[in-house]
Amino acid sequence: MIATVRDCWQSFGQFAANFGGFQMFSFRLLPYLPKALLRPRLITEQLYAVGALSLVLTMFGGLFVGMVLALQSHSTLVEFSSIDSMGAFVSETMVRELGPVVTALLFAGRAGSAIASEVGLMRATNQIAAMELMAVDPMQRIVAPRVLAGVISMPLLTAIFSMMGIFGAYLVGTRLLGVDEGAFWSQINARVDMHQDVASGFLKSIIFGASASLMAVFEGYYCQPTPAGVSRAATRTVVITSVWILLLDFILTGLTLPKV
């Protein structure tokens, strides 16, 4: 019993130390971000690595989520004689909620784990130490460009995800389930609001992008310099980022939900 309490206390202490470390790391990074913008080539390289290489996964993810949403919503909408609202239903769901959240989860799985592994491997093979000894600050050269690339690429990936989702719903809704094309698009036009829906999704995607990329570089940067340590950093990145994004989504949705 005492051992269990002690273990729990130690785990809590470990969690608190990690959380505090993450906060310190994030604050330490802040002054480096404006300076990193002066070297756009480094950001472009990372945009390709975390953004462009996540494109295919994001597009297919969005397409299938949209198709499933159309199928799932069909029976309920028919029951309430609202089949023409399918476009609006899918669009609002994609733009406000599923777009930012699922893109962030896919991002954590593909780009987040890749960043954590790459930075962790740089730690394990002394590349970060070598940079420090060459008087090159790794926060400036390695961390800041990756975080900025995550912040920039996530809204773009989210927009593509949502667009593909709406297209998938359009294909299933109008070609398979007999929804009227005009009604599908006009409902989207009438119901999706730029400020309430699109801006809310955009804000979420920026926050998720910053969180996911920060978590990935943090885990890689401070991983144990061993093969097991690098692998653990990649796993922890995906697990912690996923939980963190779902929690953040709940908070942000509560804050940005339109008043009825």
Binding site: T125, N126, Q127, A130, M131, E132, L133, M134, A135, V136
Partner: protein, 275 residues
């Protein structure tokens, strides 16, 4: 201003009364060392004696608990990050595995410090990098990626990278470990040649007595948390102390025991059986 700081003299690096411990285990207790300018100084010692820790203290990756490490008469650590980076720009460090940046090719690895610290035109960077690669004999493989290099080649590229900013000091961490005799000979020649040709100061952290004898102007033997012996390789070979003789002659047992200090065998068996 630290009490040890003073104007630089014949010594580029000075270590005064250094105390350093990790996890409450003392690594150094009152270590003193002087690294003369323009010479190759070897830091020898058995495994676990703290050679790499000493390297980390000299380069400011670690700070001493007490005492001071001086570079050019100025304290290396503790100091501001800016001051530390100023000191490090005058140093080059060669890691055991080279620590080349794996996403850059050989040319870009060597050019890396120049691109980060200078605004030199591309043409000049190209000339400097090729000159440094020529000096280590690897100009022809400038396009290769680090994964395509042997261990010896990676170390030579890392040496070219360390030299590219013309540092005053180069620190070599176990430069001979895991190399075949030819590669070892090449590295020995390069260390000696670059030291003499460029007038820099070299510190070679190693446990390789044989190679060090033909290379070093001065050797320090570290053991038991301090400097156990100091002198030319010849003087160390003729030293009469048991510790120095054990190390120089590679004896398995002696002042550095074969068995790591701990409880008696029977005592440990009983203790483990009781649990």
């Amino acid at each position: 201003m630290n009490m040890w700081a003073r104007n630089p003299s014949e010594n580029l690096v000075e270590i005064h009364d250094l105390h350093y411990s990790r996890d409450n285990r003392p690594i150094f207790s009152g270590l003193n060392m002087q690294i003369p300018r323009g010479k190759v100084t070897a830091v020898l010692g058995p495994s676990g004696s703290g050679k790499t820790t000493l390297l980390n203290l000299i380069t400011g990756q670690l700070g001493p608990d007490e005492g001071a490490v001086l570079f050019e008469g100025g304290v290396v650590c503790p100091c501001s990050r800016r001051r530390l980076y100023e000191v490090r720009r005058q140093m080059g460090v060669l890691f055991q595995d080279g620590a080349l940046l794996t996403n850059l090719n050989v040319f870009e690895n060597v050019a890396f410090p120049l691109r980060e610290h200078t605004d030199l035109p591309e043409e000049l960077i190209r000339q400097i990098v090729l000159m440094k690669l020529q000096s280590v004999g690897l100009r022809a493989i400038w396009q290769r990626m680090p994964s395509q290099l042997s261990g010896g080649m990676a170390r030579r590229v890392a040496l070219a990278r360390a030299l590219v900013t013309d540092p005053k000091l180069i620190v070599y961490d176990e430069p001979f470990a895991g190399l075949d005799p030819i590669s070892m000979g090449v590295i020995v020649r390069l260390i000696r040649h670059t030291n003499d040709a460029l007038g820099i100061t070299s510190i070679v952290v190693t446990h390789d007595v044989e190679e060090t004898s033909s290379l070093a102007d001065l050797s320090y033997l570290i053991a038991d948390r301090k400097v156990a012996a100091r002198g030319t390789p010849e003087e160390l070979r003729n030293d009469k102390s048991d510790l120095v003789r054990q190390f120089m002659q590679g004896r398995a047992d002696g002042p550095v025991p074969f068995h790591h200090p701990g409880p008696g065998y029977a005592e440990q068996l009983q203790a483990m059986a009781a649990t």
